[in-house]
Symmetry: C2
Subunit: 368 residues, 2 copies
Amino acid sequence: MVVPAVSSALRPGGTIGVLGGGQLGRMIAISAAQLGYRTHIFCQHEDDPAAQVAGIVTIAPYDDKGAIDRFAQNCDVVTLEFENIPTWVVNQIAQIRPMRPGSRVLEVAQDRVREKDFINWLDIETAAYRSVDSKAELHAAHLALGGRMVVKTRRLGYDGKGQKWIEHSGEISEAWKQLAGAPSIAEAAVDFTAEISVIAARGIDGAVAAYVPVENRHIDGILDRTIAPALIDDTLADKAVAIAEKIVTALDLVGVLAVEMFVTEGGRLLVNEIAPRPHNSGHWTIDACAVSQFEQVVRAVAGLPLGNPARHSDADMRNLIGGDADKWAEFVSEPGACLHLYGKNETRPGRKMGHVTYLKRVSERGRG
Amino acid sequence: MVVPAVSSALRPGGTIGVLGGGQLGRMIAISAAQLGYRTHIFCQHEDDPAAQVAGIVTIAPYDDKGAIDRFAQNCDVVTLEFENIPTWVVNQIAQIRPMRPGSRVLEVAQDRVREKDFINWLDIETAAYRSVDSKAELHAAHLALGGRMVVKTRRLGYDGKGQKWIEHSGEISEAWKQLAGAPSIAEAAVDFTAEISVIAARGIDGAVAAYVPVENRHIDGILDRTIAPALIDDTLADKAVAIAEKIVTALDLVGVLAVEMFVTEGGRLLVNEIAPRPHNSGHWTIDACAVSQFEQVVRAVAGLPLGNPARHSDADMRNLIGGDADKWAEFVSEPGACLHLYGKNETRPGRKMGHVTYLKRVSERGRG
């Protein structure tokens, strides 16, 4: 057996810090525990989903520099579960402990214009887009992009929040008002046949391991369902994987990267957005793969070799949004349904409360 | 869809108490977290494996009645991860909250003579045995059992501890001295071709769900390897499952029960011992089944319907004993190896530090 170079790897019993206390942090903490690591969660509320399952918790705002310092000093390595953390926080941590991924990745992923510029610079296609800083620029973008488009703030916003569709020039004034003058991006509408995503992990040794492309279906801008694998042909699937591998490598990212893509009628792939962390469209990997996206991020940031991303089963993941989670009693009694609830006390419309993964035998035509 | 009667079930966000802080409690806590429950661990040391991953921990000795009371009051339901808890503790908790399993099960499982009496009373075979309370009775047992036998204390002892093999009558005095006069059991040696086990879960509604029989191989009295499924014919496998289902039902147990059996040359099944909790020989279910033995115990004690015990993969589980765990870097780099480490700081010879499960596609001849 070839023993990998893990001399620099985090020893079992070591502590992985996670910035953020949501469900992604919770599932990272669970995977860390399975590998014998401890997790230290930095979050805002004592009862956040990740705080409930981590051995060590720091409750503080992100602008509490002292708390950030103490947190970093108490960890061996630090990662994050959401990308909208001020880069100075990440830079400060990086001066104390390895921070994976680092601020360079966040600078790209936090700004929709920089993100698309970067992707195009890699010769990977996106929808046509324009940076928009004024109502005049929004008008110009509408002319340039040729009709229907979506305007989003360059920063923040998720699950369709902070977005506005524009069909006719008469809607521009109202849209600009809603954006409240924030630096924005206008993106041409894409006529797509499917939305897919690829999750690629990358280790400190530069090795990359991508999961099979999956198809994502949204309702009201929120992911409703992920079908693994995506029902696309092998050539397109290979191309999608190659795109994710190219981006994760170009970012020099250590951790996992989700790449969302549109599939067009003509079989083109346009990258929609990227996220430098575990992603909702990868939750199926917990139940359908020997090594989940959460274990991959733990392996990557701990300096371990990545695991095999092959799946033992096909899967169909359904998000439990808001009141869906009240039907938990139905899901636990369905054979083949793997129920995951995130420990959120308060049900709110649009809030991700949990998910269910249905396992199926691996399809003949599937990859992995 | 038929919605089960879960009106009495623990709601997500509820708290499951676990007596014991070892690796079994750790893996119960992880499964509880996946289902949206909190775990409160009652254990002896702050850094016990289960305490590292649970949101709430009580550190106290089992004879601290006040701590036991406060623990119970802070839980919604209580279970255990080892069976050698004083029954008065379990009875005290049962007066405050549902205790699953309860003291009646422990009274049987804590005493090797009562356990075998109970199993024989169910018309299930065991090795021939005699209760032994004196050296004279040990001599008599040696005559009655006809030669080679093993003597064990009636209570306590695990992984081969507190056991002594006797071949000739000349060894009896020394063996009795080692047992220090403790009430004991003498068991005739069994000429077996394989050791197998079945893990059966039972819900509060009386439903039973058993995993496929597995084969266990021991080294120096400690489980080294579990092969799932056991390489036995279907008739014998059905019989083994029927035995486990009969015992778990007769015990009126809510939770999971492991039943270890010898397979003899002639195809008889002799029950060796039972454990009313998740069992080392069921660790493979974490990675090879949609619902693991740990999720089953959570479902059972929470009053949820049991999950489907079918497996998606065959599996080969290897324990990491003592220094084996130092080879963790090898295991994480093997494709198809699922590594689990228990967060134990100190490596000791014979100590279970973790395990690795190797997944294989489901065998044609396998069951499940």
